[in-house]
Symmetry: C2
Subunit: 420 residues, 2 copies
């Protein structure tokens, strides 16, 4: 007999285009199980639990819940509040258990990255220690794609699809106007890994297409080599198109951005200007002596549901759904749902389970052998890996020429144990 009680879902960390699809998978699957009596959402992630700011999906319309499938960014609200060990964040963990007990929460579904899996794991351990019977399940989420023990992460396929299209399109711009505007640099997200930057290689279909050069945090960035690479490309194609991961580091492990920090302070105080692309632009103009532009898609890239990957969206939903099925039907707890690739071509992917504690402590960089020797592009293995993840488009309803995304009402339910 499955455990009876309420379920709660929370979203954590940087939002993605498909994080709501995972929430939708959780909620719609919960609604199919009589054991889960009520399904709640935490407003702004774990902060919503700590502050007892919780809403009931029973108060949301089924069309709004369905709309989570095509609405980007954490509709429940997210946060970057980080819990530490059970000892160091004792009060917070105790408070979470207090709120869970007060609302008879027996199922906790946490959608997030490493840190969130760590938090979920500790909540699971604590509930066991306290003899409070509950199931704790993790649902992977990160555009960075750096979670271990899963083939890839929901959110990644969509950010690559949009970035690759942007590279393709801005590449056409450079192709057209290269006689004056010769170099373009796009900065891709990924502070510690080059998964997103590398994925933009998909934009290249023919010799000469953008991107010409891709730099990732997994290899050491050398200004000398960079200038040489640029000059080579320039002599071959008459133009240069570069994608740079935001977390590029030099041989001493210093972020390229930090270099800028040393001199880019304003008249008042200590304000740092210039991200990686801006710095590379400056290097190109100074050392290669051609006009360069930089584009920084920033948070637009991770929320671009108007051009998201259907494959990614469907897998995000599936991960949410499977978390519920495993917990309710198989009594599973303390696990994250993972994506398991069955084959590349035709692409087939199923789900698995992995211990929360394992995921919490692992970070998965791009394998060195998936980056070419020169460290300025990806190999065929990378392309084979990433290509299936951007397939298909998501149907987004339109209104007056723009997407018609939903908003949850998020009406807070009465508090049962206000914080003292």
């Amino acid at each position: 007999m499955a455990l009876k009680g309420n379920g709660i879902v929370a979203q954590s960390g940087g939002p993605t285009a498909v994080i709501n699809a995972s929430a939708c998978g959780v909620v719609q699957e919960c609604l199919r199980h009589r054991e889960i009596e009520g399904i709640y959402g935490a407003i702004n992630g774990v902060l919503g639990i700590l502050n007892e700011e919780i809403f009931d999906f029973g108060d949301e319309s089924s069309s709004d819940i369905e709309g989570l499938k095509y609405t980007p960014a954490a509709a429940l609200g997210s946060c970057r509040y980080k819990l530490k060990s059970l000892e160091d964040s004792e009060e917070d963990y105790a408070r979470i258990m207090e709120v869970f007990r007060a609302h008879t929460i027996r199922y906790f579904f946490y959608i997030g990255g490493n840190d969130s899996m760590d938090t979920a794991d500790k909540i699971g351990l604590l509930s066991k220690r306290l003899g409070y019977d509950m199931k704790v399940m993790g649902v992977p989420k990160t555009v960075d794609n750096d979670l271990g023990f899963t083939d890839h992460c929901p959110g990644y396929g969509s950010v690559v699809k949009f970035n690759a299209a942007a590279v393709m399109e801005a590449g056409r711009d450079t192709d057209a106007i290269y006689t004056t505007d010769t170099c373009t640099i796009i900065e891709a997200m990924g502070r510690n890994s080059g998964w997103i930057a590398g994925g933009t290689a998909l934009a290249r279909r023919e010799e000469g297409d953008a991107p010409h050069l891709i730099y990732m945090p997994e290899t050491v960035f050398s200004t000398e080599q960079f200038v040489k690479d640029c000059k080579d490309v320039l002599s071959r194609y008459g133009r240069i198109f570069i994608v740079a991961g935001e977390g590029l580091k030099d041989k001493d492990g210093n972020l390229l951005m930090a270099h800028a920090g040393a001199f880019a302070r304003d008249a008042f105080g200590h304000i740092q200007l210039g991200g990686v692309a801006d710095i590379l632009r400056a290097i190109v103009e100074k050392e290669v002596r051609v006009k360069a532009r930089h584009n920084k898609l920033g948070t637009c890239q991770r929320e671009a549901m108007h051009f998201a990957s259907k494959t990614d969206r469907d897998e995000a939903y599936l991960c949410g759904q499977m978390a519920v099925k495993h917990a309710v039907e198989e009594d599973v707890t303390g696990k994250m749902v993972s994506l398991v690739r069955e084959s590349d071509d035709p692409y087939r992917c199923s789900t698995g389970l992995v211990d929360l504690a394992e995921v919490a402590n692992a970070e998965k960089p791009v394998p060195r052998e998936w980056i070419n020797e020169a460290g300025n592009f990806v190999t065929e293995e990378f392309i084979r890996y990433v290509a299936p993840l951007i397939q298909g488009e998501v149907d987004v309803p339109m209104e007056n020429g723009l997407p018609k995304y939903i908003r949850l009402k998020r009406k807070p339910i009465p508090k049962k144990c206000p914080a003292s």
Copy 2:
């Protein structure tokens, strides 16, 4: 009887998502007129004429020509080569006439902005002076929307549609994660006018939606007022979403970017870092004391055919087509095709004609009364003006999850008068 001979089309200046749709309109309409014997393209704008780098659309497949309707960025190639007065650029103008004569060019269609209309006008004057019978027609193009004597410009609707979607989506990101990442700033193109920045107001559908503040070059930028605006918005919504035109100026007319130049120099020499959004981000962090991010869509915004406006694309085609019809059927020369709005709701737009010389010397800023008194948002008049221009989406063929844009072969025809 219409003039018999060859036609040539050239693209100039910064490319747009729909500049090829205009070229397609020119080419396909030319093919319908027997008087136009061959239809050529200049490779890289006026440079292609000067260097006699010309290709024949007869060598292109009809499916590639049709593909110009959904392929962004100048497929013929563009340039920023600026011709001056007939006296100051005498040699260039003489060379253009030499090439035109050699290839029996009797129709010249120039797709571009102010400067291009000026060049086209002068070519028309010179041909008359030399007694060489030819028709010169201008086709408007600019994402900046700052051409006078036309209701709006092809290219503008698409850049607004994409930027508004990006603001809507990045706005959702800020809504979700505002408890730490409280402020987001997006930099929109438009060095001298706020048409693009202002158009992003369309993303706001409900109270509290992004964007909260829009700054345009038409009003004086005051750091004091800006900080006050940010604090007001923060106290109302708990977050701040700002769109800034790249050409913001202070009360002395200095670009905000130039301020940065004063302190953002690197260790080697004289490299300027930081665009407007980056500077505003720094001001927010320093003066409002919340974490701020900035996004700079750069050239991606003007080529975003994957989310372009069908209205814009169709009008771009129409302008190209009408340039040909007027020249061939009505013997018109020395004119640019303009867009004439018949009504807002339902939106109806036809074309007109305007003297090239008139367009060449006019720049159209956003009317002051379309910007609110505080200079931090647009008025309803602006919304009414821009809303119809982003309607509809362009069908782009997809291949492996990304747009399948065409490439013209652009095989140069033999030179008849190589430059000495």
